[in-house]
């Protein structure tokens, strides 16, 4: 629901890292627990980037499933769609989230200037 404001943060970071070079793709890694809707993010990006130097660039979302590790029995498991954050193996509740909270720009792909883009 806040994908628009997220897109403006992404635009700030992308502009700074690209340092004036044209961007074709922004690769974003989004954990399942981030509640970001990839299609909405892509749509909001088209709104945000329109009529800016970032117009025509795309966001590519890499989704990461949520996983927990039980501190008692050391097992790791997917959190799943009907989420449970207790250890399915031993019932332990002292678990750490080892994946699924990621929310970062991993890389930018620069436009091939020679292609006349």
């Amino acid at each position: 629901m806040h994908e628009l404001s997220i897109c403006s943060s992404i635009a700030d970071i992308a502009r700074r890292r690209a340092a004036g070079r044209a961007i074709s793709v922004i690769n974003v890694r989004v954990g399942q627990l981030r509640q970001i809707v990839p299609d909405t993010l892509v749509y909001c990006w088209s709104l945000i980037s329109e009529e800016t130097p970032l117009a025509g660039s795309r966001i590519v979302v890499e989704s990461v499933p949520a996983r927990i590790r039980c501190r008692s029995c050391e097992r790791t498991a997917d959190v799943g769609d009907l989420p449970s954050f207790a250890c399915a193996a031993c019932g332990g509740i002292d678990v750490e989230i080892v994946a699924g909270e990621e929310f970062l720009i991993t890389s930018l792909e620069l436009a091939d200037e020679g292609a006349g883009g």
């Binding site: 449970s84 509740i93 909270e101 970062l104």
Partner: protein, 251 residues
């Protein structure tokens, strides 16, 4: 929690679990001659920097801050009214009130001697659904922090976005109303998991609802086994004392 690392230069990366699932990155960009720039920068980095500054400002003033979240209509403002009336003269309270357009909630909280700073989030670009750290930072100069013990941050009514934004609080609490249905923790696990305390409100309505309290608590435990739970009716005052005690125990 197993958050990913943040490095001195502001970049961050996540470690895979021991079984190291593939991230499925497409490296074909190299083959077409397009240049790839590694970034690895957290998208909430700016927000989190401001949240850390807010947290430091609260700490420097000896103030504890609680971020209070809920869906619309769960009873945050009624609970805060009861809280202010009971703690007046005992705890010096400031309120940061997030609301999309109006001052209606802030008006309901006036008259209890608490300092109130209203943030109309409708003015913020894309900030219509939650408070973020810069919004809270903008409210701090309007509170006499040096004369307060506790700041209650009433977030925008929403079970999704507020859970995502660190605003610099010491603790997160949520108000959940039993009129919302038993399955809400499973539908909004990030919100329910983010909180140290879940206040289960509107308990006075229990006889009139087809609400299975045990099923709700079971669902809550699936996503947040460790949260404190208090059963409250802000309307009748049942359980409000325990909530006030929970707040005072944090000071």
């Amino acid at each position: 929690m197993g958050r990913f690392h943040r490095h001195e230069d502001g970049t961050a990366h996540a470690h895979d679990g021991e079984d190291g699932h593939a991230h499925g990155e497409d490296h074909s960009g190299y083959q077409t001659g397009a240049e790839r720039v590694e970034v690895l920068e957290r998208i909430f980095g700016e927000n989190d920097k401001t949240a850390a500054a807010n947290r430091a400002e609260f700490a420097a003033s000896g103030v504890r801050a609680v971020n209070l979240m809920s869906s619309p209509g769960a009873g945050k403002t009624t609970l805060l009214r009861e809280t202010l009336s009971r703690l007046a003269g005992l705890v010096r309270i400031g309120i940061i009130e997030g609301d999309i357009e109006t001052s209606l909630d802030a008006d309901r909280l006036a008259g209890f001697g608490a300092a109130i700073a209203l943030i109309n989030t409708g003015n913020g670009f894309g900030g219509e659904c939650h408070l973020d750290a810069p919004m809270v930072a903008s409210a701090l100069p309007r509170l006499p922090l040096g004369q307060l013990d506790l700041v209650l941050i009433e977030n925008v009514g929403n079970l999704v976005c507020p859970a995502e934004f660190d605003v610099g609080q010491d603790a997160r609490a949520m108000v959940y109303a039993i009129t919302e249905g038993e399955e809400k923790p499973l539908k909004y696990p990030v919100m329910f998991r983010s909180c140290e305390l879940v206040v289960v409100n509107k308990m006075d309505l229990l006889p009139y609802l087809d609400f299975d309290l045990d099923a709700f608590v079971g669902n809550l435990r699936k996503v947040n086994p460790a949260a404190d739970v208090l059963f409250v009716s802000a309307r009748t005052g049942e359980g409000v004392g325990a909530w006030c005690d929970w707040l005072r125990a944090r000071l």
